[in-house]
């Protein structure tokens, strides 16, 4: 099909498109929250940014007003279950992602303010006692009609201590001791904790703080709830002089407080005169961060997508008003969009934003199914007398073969009667279901956090650069300059990139994940047959190459006989995690675009433009698959060859290279296959550029309003 024949993108994608791609077209409650959040983001939040509310480290009235706006719009209560005053049933990870997306579209600091409260409640939500849940959840929602009370705000205090920010979660200097323990009564604890970079500390009424035992009568570590009226020192500390997310309050607090022992998150037991917390701080944090890491990553991707419209408008109007540029001339009408570079670079930003949101929302959907699956697993293991800790770890390891068998059977196109029965049996096993889900989530979540934020910040810099000097001014439309620096903090919050790479280096090598990865490749092969213009073949080839490289590296040794793939060899494992993240992001964009192609025509609102939309998104998939494949191939080549010694012969005679690396011939063949499948990818970029140059955009940006 020639460029002239293909339907082009009519308008920028709106809610109807997002609802289909991210699978919430049937969730009207979510759609309502999206609209409410958007009204706050593009109204009060945008006005606060425009009037310079970010230009202060202090917690100001302008910033506090935003919390009240969140309360009124239902944003504060959205993450809370109805039994505690919320209004939406069921898991809310995906919903939190939507809220983060809408707020970060304008200002991620506002998003952080909203999410930090949820983060403070998360330890209580995940591991708190029923009494703790009832107390703190109900206090954290806005007063209901007829209630006369002040809403409580929370902060989560893990990081410590001055001067560093974000220390290893396993090294705590905050201490908890027994202050008083009268026979027959509950113990009273004394908590000393100095936090660093604690979000929401300017407004918090309670803090969930991680502390280690400083007393032989308390075993291990725990998380403990501190209240501002507890006896002792509650010093909010000095504002952190951070360069990003200035709409959120961040301070370095000092606590020295007496609290009752029932403030230990999840409760405790007393054994031989020692207080044993039911959950260590690590137990709580693992449960919390599993669920809360993907939403901040969505924020960086939201910014990339938010940059599209202002950059197009700026490019089109770039020369208007200049002497000699008259209406009707190409320079007046198209401005910088006459230049291919402006279009192509913006497409890269757009593709990165789409891939990040596709990956992030997939991770969040998976998390929404996680709670029920985890509970069913725990119940099933409990019936077998296995309850938590090492016993559970051993029990799960013992089932890895069965989980692998389940995946192998589920991938088969035809099954015998015996195999069908076995598959049904495994499918009904909650432990197997958990293992498969967890193997996926433990890759998708760190990949989202790592790739969306790390690559996202790089692409945000691209977006800023496309606005020229305007991009780094406070009045840049869309606040692109501040979004760039904000993205760097998202790459750091809740575990910086190194933490995510570390986790991926372990989880990406699990057999049950790799089996699913192979199923993705098989799926892409089918997609490539049915939709040859999506870049699915390129992506499948790059995934094959990554798989081969991982397998090769897992047993390879360097010239000194040391293992290449080992836990301390970050030079090998971390780049491989980066490469995987590129591929995983691209894969989920492809899946979402297939969803749009399948269900878009069913929407009457999209009917007149669906062909152009799907064409454009297919091209965007091709563009991103090509970039991801290129990145993954480059990384894999560097790793596969880079740990080999250079044979002397190759220095003098390049024709002997093939012989010298003969055992790497499969890699070379796979790499050639990837590169050959790039054919047409630049033509897809040209087509998408044509669409970008004529797409209709609004007259003005819709924020601040």
């Amino acid at each position: 099909m020639s460029n002239e024949d293909a339907a082009l993108l009519s308008t920028l994608p709106g809610d109807d498109v997002r609802q289909i791609m991210w699978r919430f077209a049937d969730r009207f409650d979510y759609q309502m929250v999206v609209q409410s959040t958007r009204a706050v983001a593009r109204g009060p939040v945008a006005r606060a940014v425009a009037k310079g509310a970010r230009n202060s480290h202090e917690w100001t009235e302008d910033k506090a007003d935003l919390l009240r706006e969140f309360d009124a719009a239902g944003i504060t209560a959205a993450p809370v279950d109805p039994e505690y005053g919320g209004f939406i049933e069921g898991p809310k990870n995906f919903l939190m992602g939507l809220i983060a997306f809408e707020l970060a579209w304008v200002d991620a600091g506002a998003g952080t303010s909203s999410m930090a409260n949820t983060l403070a409640l998360a330890p209580i939500h995940e591991r708190g006692t029923p009494e703790q849940k009832q107390t703190y959840m109900t206090r954290s929602v806005p007063p209901q009609p007829g209630e006369n009370r002040t809403i409580w705000r929370g902060a989560f205090a893990l990081t410590e201590s001055i001067p560093y920010v974000g220390v290893d979660t396993g090294v705590l200097s905050g201490r908890v001791r027994v202050a008083e323990w009268v026979d027959g009564e509950a113990p009273v604890l004394h908590v000393d904790k100095r936090g660093r970079f604690i979000t929401n500390m300017g407004s918090a009424n309670f803090v969930t703080a991680a502390v280690d035992s400083g007393d032989p009568r308390i075993k291990g570590s725990c998380m403990v709830i501190l209240e501002e009226t507890d006896p002792g020192t509650w010093d909010r500390g000095t504002p952190t002089k951070k360069l990003a997310h200035q709409l959120s309050s961040t301070r370095d607090p000092v606590f020295s407080l007496r609290v009752p022992a029932d403030r230990i998150v999840g409760g405790y037991t007393v054994k031989d005169g020692v207080i044993v917390p039911n959950y260590s701080h690590a137990d709580v944090i693992e449960a919390v961060f599993t669920r809360t890491r993907a939403a901040p990553a969505i924020m960086t991707s939201a910014k990339l997508l938010s940059a599209i419209e202002p950059v197009i408008r700026y490019h089109r109007r770039r020369f208007r008003g200049a002497a000699g540029i008259t209406e009707g001339t190409p320079r007046f009408d198209m401005g910088l969009q006459q230049k291919e570079d402006a279009l192509h670079r913006l497409l890269d930003v757009w593709a990165a934003g789409e891939a990040g949101t596709s990956l992030g929302f997939m991770a969040l959907r998976l998390l929404d199914s996680y709670d029920a699956i985890e509970q069913a697993k725990s119940a099933a293991l409990a019936q077998l007398g296995v309850a938590g800790g090492r016993a559970e770890f051993k029990a799960l390891r013992a089932r890895e073969g069965a989980a692998s068998e389940y995946l192998a059977l589920s991938a088969k196109e035809t099954l015998s009667a015996v195999e069908s029965a076995r598959l049904a049996e495994l499918e009904a096993d909650p432990v197997i279901k958990f293992m498969v889900t967890e193997s996926l989530s433990s890759v998708l979540i760190p990949a989202t956090k790592l790739w969306n934020t790390g690559h996202g910040v790089n692409m945000m810099r691209e977006a800023v650069s496309m606005m020229g000097g305007y991009g780094i001014t406070e009045d840049c439309p869309g606040f692109l300059g501040t979004k760039w620096i904000d993205g760097q903090l998202e790459a750091t919050y809740e575990g910086p990139e190194v933490v995510q790479r570390r986790q991926l280096s372990v989880t990406m090598s699990r057999t049950i994940f790799l089996q699913q990865f192979q199923q993705w490749i098989a799926h892409l092969r089918v997609v490539a047959q049915e939709h040859p213009a999506m870049g699915a073949s390129t992506l499948a080839n790059a995934m094959e190459l990554w798989l081969w490289s991982r397998e090769y590296l897992s047993t390879a040794k360097d010239p000194f006989g040391k293992d290449v793939y080992s836990s301390q060899r970050h030079g090998a494992t971390y780049p491989l995690a980066d490469a995987l993240s590129w591929l995983v992001a691209s894969y989920h964009l492809t899946i979402d675009v297939l969803q749009l192609a399948q269900h878009g025509p069913e929407s009457p609102a999209l009917a007149e433009g669906i062909d152009g939309l799907v064409n454009f998104y297919n091209d965007l998939c091709t563009i991103h698959s090509a970039t991801a494949a290129g990145e993954a191939t480059r990384i894999c080549a560097e790793l596969v060859f880079g740990y080999r010694a250079a044979p002397d012969a190759t220095r003098d005679d390049p024709t002997k290279v093939v012989d010298a690396f003969i055992e790497l011939a499969p890699f070379v063949a796979l790499r050639t296959r990837v590169e050959a499948s790039l054919a047409g990818s630049k033509l897809a970029k040209d087509r998408a550029a044509d669409a970008l140059a004529q797409v209709m955009i609004p007259e003005v940006l819709d924020y601040p309003v």
Binding site: M32, A73, P604, A605, D702
Partner: protein, 269 residues
């Protein structure tokens, strides 16, 4: 009032006013380019009417509000996501074109027909509300035409305020020439009020209200009757956006009076 009012608000969507609105000639007559793809908002005048209706319902116990909306079903659904959390109301949806290129007589007929079919509506308690104008096509007659069809003879146009006495008497302020109000008193319903801006702010979102509204909205959208607005006898010969003209002249030390006079002369032509 012991029994309260039955307030029916006629109001629908218009394209988001920040969008590029480009008239095109479609197969069925004039339209806006990519109209269905554009985001929509509640017509600003209809929004004022809805907020005033909710205020009346909140102050007069036993009252209830219906919003009768005529527009493409899919677009109405998106619109409801943003207005559902505002005020409590029950939706009555009519699946038809909300384009500015429709005949208000036909639109009024469809709206009146839908109102007549509301099963629990007590016409003796009816307050018919709507906007006195529309952001998509400012015919300014739709509420009056709906009122006529429903047999409502007490009609008030461009209203800014309604007060209800303890006895149920209605006092309405209508805009008239010279920035003044015509104050009217009517003994009670039924009456039709086409609202100007009113004087109420946009209510804050209340998610609990939204969730309650949502329970009735989705069934209402599903059973929305499709209506064809054929506009017989109406022909649109051409449509274009108002022309913008910009003339910039840089001057120094010109007195304000002289500037004002020059602008006034320019406007007069």
């Amino acid at each position: 009032m012991s029994t309260g009012f039955h307030v029916v608000v006629c109001g629908s969507l218009v394209p988001d006013l920040l969008q590029t609105l480009e008239p095109v000639q479609g197969p069925a007559g004039p339209a806006l380019k990519n109209e269905l793809m554009l985001p929509s908002v509640l017509d600003p005048w209809a929004a004022h009417a809805l907020f005033e209706a909710a205020h009346v319902a909140a102050t007069v116990p036993g009252s209830k509000v219906w919003l009768v909306s005529l527009g493409p079903k899919a677009k109405l659904q998106q619109l409801m996501m943003s207005i559902a959390p505002k005020v409590p109301f029950e939706l009555v949806a009519i699946d038809a074109s909300a384009s500015g290129f429709t005949d208000p007589v036909e639109v009024a007929a469809a709206l009146a027909g839908a109102i007549e079919k509301i099963p629990t509506l007590d016409r003796s308690r009816l307050l018919l509300f709507g906007g006195c104008a529309s952001a998509s096509r400012d015919a300014g007659v739709t509420v009056a035409l709906v009122g006529e069809r429903l047999g409502i003879t007490d009609q008030f146009l461009a209203a800014d305020e309604l007060t209800v006495s303890a006895e149920g008497t209605l006092t309405i302020l209508e805009r008239v020439e010279g920035g003044k109000y015509l104050v009217s008193e009517v003994s009670g319903p039924p009456c039709a009020i086409a609202w100007a801006t009113g004087n109420l702010p946009e209510p804050p979102n209340n998610p609990q209200v939204g969730m309650l509204n949502m329970r009735t909205m989705m069934p209402a959208l599903q059973k929305a009757a499709a209506v064809q607005l054929a506009s017989p006898g109406t022909t649109f010969h051409s449509v274009e956006l108002p022309k913008q003209e910009r003339r910039t002249r840089i001057v120094k030390d010109v007195p304000i009076d002289e500037m004002a006079r020059e602008i006034a002369d320019w406007i007069k032509g």
